[in-house]
Symmetry: C2
Subunit: 241 residues, 2 copies
């Protein structure tokens, strides 16, 4: 019998925002896999680090860090092959995924290569979406709101149209699109209703009204949330420093 | 000094999908509050039950269970008053919230009444959105997909328009709108791309292709996920019984 491939959501970054189930599966794992940059630490591994058992076999999936580029086919072909070889011996492989494995996650590249051949279990995680809303201290959606999640790399015309048609809007993957998105939201009269969060739930997190943000670019793990149809919105005093 | 009001996301139902932080705060709480129906058990309390310390003071917020009706002002006025009285003594109040407190959650009714007067901390939770995607074994969003979340009670014309403009679609609060939504999705040629999940992650969960579902109505905690732009979609064999 072959092993099971687990896709484990780790949440937005604070290790305490892992689920009990994620923690249990990681701390009893024999083999873990995770995305890693070509230099520096793997973010996914760093979230799970305190739960990793000693002696666990680690399979880093090294993906060059280039914003807005989807990973090369060959990298995931190779990783899938290495993981399949472990699964075929009957051992499980626990894949560490930032946020949730199925919400804009790179786990899908393993999933599409392996789900026909091996048992898969997905453990959902806290997404950056609600982690950012928590930090901005505003309900994300209520009652019969329509919510739309928009990737920042899309062109202005598309983003404008999607924003027009929702009550609650999240723009993900802000990164190098920050200046353009700020200009667009200013033009749409929404800049004073937008909040900005980077690295939500981590010690180095930043929480700002978008209008107060000076930077021209942002890290990949950053988000803009727009609260339409409300009075001009202010952050609670603890954040306004 | 006054106490802190915590809004704690409990995740979709499986107690193991609580975060470590939720578990810590609940198991050390002196006072908890939670929504409860006028008869029967509170869903939120049932998720947290195994973590509740003995002797904890409980403040049930009794909300009559009527689908698609937003809770009466007086119920939350009363609950906020009772909770404020505890916070004023310097004690914290831990509010138990199904899913995530700020994602279509009733916690907002307490938040809007108390956030000006007391310190608030929100602990995000796993939403039903990604819990359902995990059960349907399909990535919810990938690459630069636009995702839209639509409440089922909205009229057909609105739902049709929102679906047309997104790559990934979730319809929440399906409930008594199931038959209407099925007819609409059939008309739009999307019925064979829609998955249905009720009570995700609980022992009594149901996972179906929407096209295979016979029922005319669904429980409140049910969701339809639509995977557009894909080949006709099938559930993995373990679910097709």
């Amino acid at each position: 019998m072959s092993g099971t491939l687990y896709g484990i959501g780790l949440g937005p970054g604070d290790p305490e925002l892992m689920t009990l189930k994620a923690h249990r599966l990681i701390s009893t794992a024999n083999v873990v896999a995770y995305p890693a940059p070509d230099s520096g630490e793997s973010f996914a591994r760093s979230i799970a680090a305190s739960a990793l058992p000693s002696g666990v076999r680690e399979i880093p999936i090294v993906v060059p860090m280039r914003t807005d580029r989807f990973p090369a086919r060959e990298i995931y072909d190779g990783a899938a092959k290495e993981i399949a070889a472990v699964l075929e011996t009957g051992q499980d492989v626990v894949t560490l995924c930032e946020g949730d494995p199925f919400f804009y996650g790179s786990f899908m590249y393993l999933f599409e290569r392996l789900s026909d051949r091996f048992p898969i279990e997905i453990v959902p995680g806290v997404t950056s979406l609600t982690a950012c809303a928590a930090q901005l201290r505003r309900p994300l959606t209520s009652r019969n709101d329509v919510m739309t999640v928009i990737p920042g790399p899309l062109p202005d015309t598309q983003i404008r149209q999607k924003i027009d048609q929702a009550q609650a809007v999240a723009i993900m993957k802000v990164g190098r699109h920050l200046a353009r998105l700020k200009a667009l939201l200013a033009e749409m009269g929404l800049i004073d209703k937008a909040g900005y969060v980077e690295r939500a739930s981590l010690p180095e997190q930043k929480v700002h009204r978008l209008i107060d943000l000076d930077a021209e670019t942002a890290p990949y793990f950053s988000m803009i949330l727009i609260y339409k149809g409300e009075e001009a919105w202010t952050l609670p005093p603890s954040y306004s420093s």
